[in-house]
């Protein structure tokens, strides 16, 4: 059916508007980073600085331990995602394949755990980590993030495994694999897009955390994550928003790059099973 020109105009206008709303904060972050601090509050606002401060990124990297913070964030995210994937691959596969008594209730219980707001768990987790002497250690946020990530990734993976025909692992078992061998040799390679999408989801969840890092790591400066580190750049009376914005861009960059590289897999992973 041919679309009328009026419909096309409405469609494109909606798309442009949506993109503008989504992109504007990023654009504003960039011009804030590139502007002189005294130009930030001028009226009317400038939509592109006269003399962009391209050197701000190098300056921030030299003045602040951004790389250390990024490294800590990466360690925490990789640790949390690795732990979560090990648990949720096995849990999701079991929920998808094995009919055990109470299986569906167990699945729902896992999902219910996700319904709790993250901040609700801060206090009990703090109590547990203090007893385990993990406060100040990266392990505290690795474990805390895993509690957030596992329920979601378990369900995402269960959904993905449901779309893979059982005959595949049956064929592998007839070919000589054990049930676990069939999972590792056949099901997991076939699920690569789903695994990538799920892992990236967990990575973003961990990378963007502030509340847990603030609670568990404040007193361990060497273990600060990027988000926690950036907030310390805000002074009590004066804040250099240009520098903070520049640091925020550096922190957002890794996620952006990962998305760009994995986009092909992610789209496949997130839409798999939508149609036969």
């Amino acid at each position: 059916m041919k679309r009328s020109s009026r419909d096309s105009i409405i469609l494109y206008a909606t798309v442009v508007l949506t993109c503008a709303v989504l992109v504007f904060p990023i654009y504003w972050l960039v011009i804030t980073a590139l502007s002189e601090p005294d130009q930030l509050r001028q009226l009317p606002p400038k939509f592109w600085p006269d003399h962009p401060r391209w050197g701000v990124f190098g300056q921030i990297l030299a003045e602040r331990p951004i790389l250390l913070w990024l490294g800590n964030s990466a360690l925490a995210a990789i640790g949390a995602v690795t732990l979560s994937m090990v648990v949720s691959v096995l849990a999701g596969y079991s929920l998808s394949r094995f009919k055990v008594r109470g299986g569906p209730s167990l699945g729902l219980f896992i999902l219910t755990a996700k319904m709790l707001p993250a901040t609700l768990l801060v206090i009990p987790l703090f109590g547990i980590f203090r007893q385990l002497e993990l406060i100040g250690s990266l392990w505290s946020i690795i474990l805390a993030h895993a509690t957030l990530i596992i329920p979601f990734t378990t369900w995402m993976l269960k959904g993905y495994f449901d779309t893979i025909p059982r005959e595949l692992e049956q064929a592998a078992m007839v070919d000589g694999c054990s049930p676990l061998g069939a999972m590792f040799r056949v099901i997991l390679p076939v699920s690569a897009p789903g695994l990538a999408a799920t892992a990236l989801y967990g990575f973003v969840l961990s990378w963007s955390d502030y509340a847990y890092a603030r609670t568990f790591l404040t007193n361990a400066q060497g273990n600060w994550t990027a988000n926690l580190g950036i907030t310390t750049m805000k002074g009590e009376y004066v804040s250099n928003w240009s520098d903070i914005s520049a640091a925020s861009i550096l922190v957002a960059l890794p996620i952006l790059l990962i998305y760009l590289f994995l986009e092909r897999y992610l789209v496949g992973g997130l839409t798999a099973g939508a149609e036969k």
């Binding site: 049956q170 064929a171 070919d175 000589g176 054990s178 061998g181 390679p189 076939v190």
Partner: protein
């Protein structure tokens, strides 16, 4: 290669018995087809043989070895699945060699055997492709190839042709039969298509509701069905069923069909005198024109296939089958009769015509037990 022995195998899910006391001896090199409608337990039996399902009771032997509790990979069988179950992340060559690799066969030997099997199946030019780059027929061959490279004791095939289009199905059917003759490996083949069963099997095992109805050579099953279900299932179009009370006659028993007394051709029919019989008549045993028993009909519908015609005729009310549906709940042939006329004249549709049959061709079933009377 080896024979297979299945002894009193049952399978239940809670109170639901899907397989009731299944026993079968399969000779070395035999091609046995398990056939029956959906839900009859044939695929469950195949999975129990493969070790993919556990039997509730009973034992299974492959060759001299009892395999009831062995893992699928330890049974030395190969299976072809309905949806082929090719590993999508592996090339055709790796798909075919996967089972050998799992068994620790050395690389050169895997390559040799994969190459040989690919040549037999005519897929040697596809070895580097992934399954998604293959047509349905090619995938089917790869699935067969994966089974034959293993040189197993037995092939298990679970409706391997049902995803192919009609033309390719006929072609592949013949290829599988030829492959079986060439390799001589014991094969158990599951299908719901009676034509596949008839054309491929050395012996057919026909099942209904988890029970074996008859085990026989295809021709025997066609000529001497054990009961009403088998009679209705085997043959296309299916057998016509007519019901009538049985009365005594000189030298035996008779029924009344199309308003005429017709002597029953079986010695045991005398035992049905005073009761109802269901008489079976195959569509191809009805001819146009006068014969030993002739009757005039007004066809309800005539389907022409060129070389043959299917003539649909309403049955007289007194001959309609009253014992529920003869074969399946949706089977409506109790009210009508189909005649399959070979090389028919070009008569105009809607014209009355005379049909006839030879009473010697009739099959007789007890209406109460639905068993065949010999």
């Amino acid at each position: 290669m080896a024979g297979i022995k299945i002894e009193h195998v049952t399978k239940s899910y809670g109170n639901l018995a899907v397989l009731k006391d299944f026993s079968l001896d399969i000779a070395d090199g035999e091609f046995v087809v398990l056939v029956g409608p959906s839900g009859c337990g044939k695929s469950t039996m195949l999975k129990i043989l493969a070790g993919l399902e556990e039997a509730s009771s009973g034992k299974v032997w492959i060759g001299e070895r009892e395999v009831t509790d062995l893992a699928p990979g330890d049974r030395d069988i190969a299976m072809v699945f309905q949806n082929y179950a090719l590993y999508p992340h592996l090339t055709v060559a790796k798909n075919m060699g996967f089972g050998l690799k799992m068994r620790g066969t050395d690389k050169a030997e895997i390559e040799r055997r994969v190459g040989d099997a690919a040549k037999i199946l005519g897929i040697d030019h596809l070895l580097d492709r992934r399954p998604r780059a293959l047509s349905g027929g090619q995938r089917q061959r790869v699935a067969l190839g994966r089974a034959i490279v293993r040189e197993p004791q037995a092939f298990l095939m679970d409706e391997p042709l049902s995803n192919l289009d009609a033309k390719l199905r006929v072609h592949t059917r013949a290829e599988i039969s030829a492959l079986h003759k060439r390799l001589g490996v014991t094969t158990i083949y599951v299908t719901h298509d009676q034509t596949e069963a008839m054309t491929m099997a050395d012996r057919i095992v026909i099942m209904k509701d988890g029970e074996i109805q008859q085990i026989a050579h295809p021709d025997t099953m066609f000529r001497e069905p054990a009961n009403l279900f088998v009679a209705g299932f085997i043959g296309s179009p299916g057998m016509n069923f007519l019901q009538s009370p049985v009365t005594a006659a000189a030298g035996g028993a008779q029924v009344r069909l199309f308003g005429q007394n017709v002597a029953l051709p079986v010695a045991g029919a005398g035992s049905l005198v005073g009761e109802d019989a269901i008489v079976g008549l195959r569509p191809e045993h009805i001819s146009a024109g006068p014969g030993p028993v002739s009757f005039e009909v007004q066809p309800r519908l005539v389907e022409s296939l060129g070389s043959e015609q299917y003539v649909y005729v309403e049955l007289p009310v007194e001959n309609r089958v009253r014992v529920g549906q003869a074969v399946a709940d949706d089977d409506t042939r109790g009210h009508s009769l189909i005649a399959r006329l070979i090389n028919p004249d070009g008569r105009p549709p809607g014209e009355r015509l005379t049909l006839s049959f030879d009473p010697a061709r009739l099959h007789v079933f007890d209406a109460a037990t639905q068993g065949a009377i010999q």
